[in-house]
Symmetry: C2
Subunit: 211 residues, 2 copies
């Protein structure tokens, strides 16, 4: 199909398609003349994936480039997939914190050994903890334990399902499952907060604070 048809089929405008082609996010079509190329269903699927990655709360163009590159050239060892997915979705130009030992010690105080973990991910944890401290907000210990347990059981279920029969399927699962699931989890948490709050406090007939 021509680029105008690809735009109609995918719901992505022609200027955006040209931008993705220039940035190397979308692979070229088969050139049929000096000014025309032919696109196919694979281009439609790829455009949908690009939109999902760049969508609200999603990746930068540079992050998407790195991530699509990983999907095309998967690392040799399954464990390295995660590192690639995590790196692609880290903020651009983000450096490691210089207090990673303190971050590891804090995790250890929750009974969690994260010594083998990627410095960039540990830095993200350190940033999140620092923001809480800056706002003078202390997570109650029972809640912090619930966070650690919940995230461990989430990750165990996710990693158990990483397919190992094809590198292509594995990288797709890890990359998309890590990044696109984040807004899903956060929305689920808010819904669960609302149901838990309704259970504890009941629906409001306006009155004073408390149950």
């Amino acid at each position: 199909m021509r680029i105008s048809q690809l735009a109609a089929e995918s719901g992505v405008s022609v200027p955006s398609i040209k931008f993705y082609l220039r940035e190397g996010l979308l692979h070229d079509g088969v050139r049929t003349s000096a000014t025309q190329a032919e696109y196919d269903g694979e281009h439609v699927r790829r455009l949908r994936l690009i939109r999902a990655l760049l969508g609200p709360g999603g990746l930068t163009v540079v992050g998407a480039q790195s991530l699509l590159g990983t999907m095309e050239h998967p690392p040799e060892h399954a464990h390295d997939l995660l590192g690639a997915a995590h790196a692609a979705s880290a903020p651009a130009g983000k450096a490691n914190r210089d207090d990673l030992d303190a971050v590891r010690a804090e995790a250890a105080s929750w009974g969690w050994d994260v010594s083998g973990c990627d410095p960039l991910v540990l830095s993200a944890l350190g940033d999140a903890l620092e923001r809480l401290r800056d706002a003078d907000f202390a997570v109650p210990p029972s809640v912090m334990r619930a966070y650690v347990d919940a995230m461990k059981s989430v990750a165990a279920a996710e990693v158990a399902e990483i397919p190992t029969d094809s590198a292509d399927a594995a990288v797709r699962y890890v990359v998309l499952g890590t990044i696109l699931v984040e807004p899903l989890l956060l929305a689920m948490r808010r819904l669960a907060q609302e149901t838990a709050s309704l259970e504890r406090f009941g629906v409001a007939p306006p009155g004073e604070l408390g149950a």
Copy 2:
């Protein structure tokens, strides 16, 4: 203290402080002359909070205004706090989806009744699910169950700790605990993925994919 001292104390530049004053995020100091005002420790604390709210991955100025307003004028009933916190951190101008029944039905298929929940939060769930569909990514059923269980146990622990002795403490706990904890949970999930992946696949001596 003068505004220059407030800047030194808080690490926030004078132009930024003036911007926050103009936007009503920071309360005025006590005017001592036509061109000078006196600030105190409460201004330093508030500036730290503003920076935490507007920080990376954080709120827009409009979201922060709404949220600080909620903290100053807390709703009467504890359950409404959550709604206010969730609304302040929703994307500006976001409208409800028109397929909320389908979103509720999908949650019901995971054994979860979200019929009483805020339409904006249900819309966020619908958006997240749509992004996964757009990318042709199916969350395995065992993983979806793990997500639901994990977020229910997180929310139960959080809501159980909402303080009910003071409206001020309650609103602070709910608002900051909802919004500032999101990057913490996402970083924890990634760390847990790495430890689970190491457990399943071991460290890489470069070889083929799989355990």
